[in-house]
Amino acid sequence: MVSIYTLYVVNKSGGLIYSRDFTSVAKVDLNDALRLASIWHSMHAISSQLSPVPGCTGVELLEADTFTLHCFQTLTGTKFLLVVEPNTPYVPALLQRIYEVYSDYVLKNPFYEVEQVIKCELFDEHLELAVRRHNV
C-alpha cells in the first residue's frame, strides 16, 4: 500500500528546510517546492485572518482531487506538511511521530543550526522507518 507521498518542513519564516518524497510522485522541482512552501506559509496566516470564528490558528487539512495535505504547526512555528493519498488514516499521529523524530535527531544534533536546511542522516533513517511502519 502506498499512501504517504511527500513530507515538507517549513521554518517559522516560511522557508523550506526539508523535503522528501516517499514514493515516486510527479516531480516538483526545488524552486517550485520553495515557492509552494512560502505560499503555504502565507495562506496559512490569511486563512486564520479570514476565519468567521475567533481563535483560529490556521489550516490543518487541505483536500484536493488527488491528494490530501495535513499540516501540523509546532508551538515554535515550524510547520510539517504531509501530502498523502485521500482518506489515509492516522495521519495526525504520524505527524506527531515525525515531530518526535525531528526533536530527537535534528534539534538535538549539535551541528544543526536552527531554522536552517536539515541535513541529518539519523533523521532521514528514522523518518523512513516511521513512514514505513505507518504504511504497513
Binding site: 485572518q49 490543518e60 487541505l62 484536493a64 482531487d65 491528494f67
Partner: protein, 163 residues
C-alpha cells in the same frame, strides 16, 4: 453543524455575500467587507493554483505561476482549520462558490454543485433581469431565501439557525 457565510464570485469579483453567523466580525479580520471578499478570493485562487502545482499524480501539470485554465489540473475542494471548514467549488465558466461551515461537515461538493445549478443558474444567470458579469444578482432577497431553503433541505443549515 453550523453554517457561517457564503461568497459567490464571477470573473469580475464578488457578486453575492451572505452571512448566517459570524462570531468574529469583519473588523477584527480584513477590516472592511470588501477587503474580506477580495482576500477570500485571493486565498481560494492561490490555493487552487497551489493544488494544481503540488498534485502528486499529475503528469503534465501546469508550471507554478504560469497561466492556468479553469479546471486544468488537480482541483482544490476544501480545507479544515482548527475551528472552521471552507468548501470551494469552481465551475467551468469561472463562477466560484465558497461556503464556510463548522468542521463536522463532510464533503459538500454535491451541495455546492446544486447551489450553482438550482440557484445561480436558475435565479441569476438565466434571469432576464440579470445584466451580465459584474452586475448584482436580481432580487437578492429572494435569492437569499432560496439559498437558505436549499441548504436547509440538504441538511447543511440547521433548522435552529435563522435565515
Amino acid at each position: 453543524m453550523l453554517c457561517y457565510n457564503i461568497y459567490f464570485y464571477d470573473r469580475t469579483g464578488c457578486i453575492f455575500y451572505h452571512e448566517w453567523l459570524r462570531p468574529k466580525p469583519v473588523k477584527q479580520g480584513a477590516g472592511t467587507l470588501e477587503d474580506d471578499q477580495k482576500q477570500m478570493f485571493g486565498l481560494c485562487w492561490t490555493l487552487s493554483n497551489f493544488c494544481a502545482a503540488l498534485d502528486p499524480k499529475g503528469t503534465d501539470k501546469p508550471q507554478l505561476g504560469a497561466p492556468r485554465r479553469i479546471g486544468q489540473g488537480c482541483q482544490f475542494r476544501s480545507f479544515t482549520a482548527n475551528n472552521y471548514k471552507l468548501h470551494f467549488l469552481e465551475t467551468p465558466s469561472g463562477y466560484k462558490v465558497v461556503l464556510n461551515t463548522s468542521q463536522d461537515v463532510g464533503s459538500l461538493q454535491e451541495t455546492l454543485a446544486a447551489v450553482y445549478d438550482e440557484l445561480l443558474v436558475a435565479r441569476c444567470i438565466r434571469s432576464p433581469l440579470y445584466k451580465g458579469p459584474g452586475q448584482p444578482i436580481p432580487n437578492p432577497e429572494g435569492f437569499r431565501g432560496a439559498l437558505s431553503q436549499l441548504l436547509r433541505m440538504r441538511g447543511v443549515l440547521p433548522a435552529s439557525q435563522s435565515a
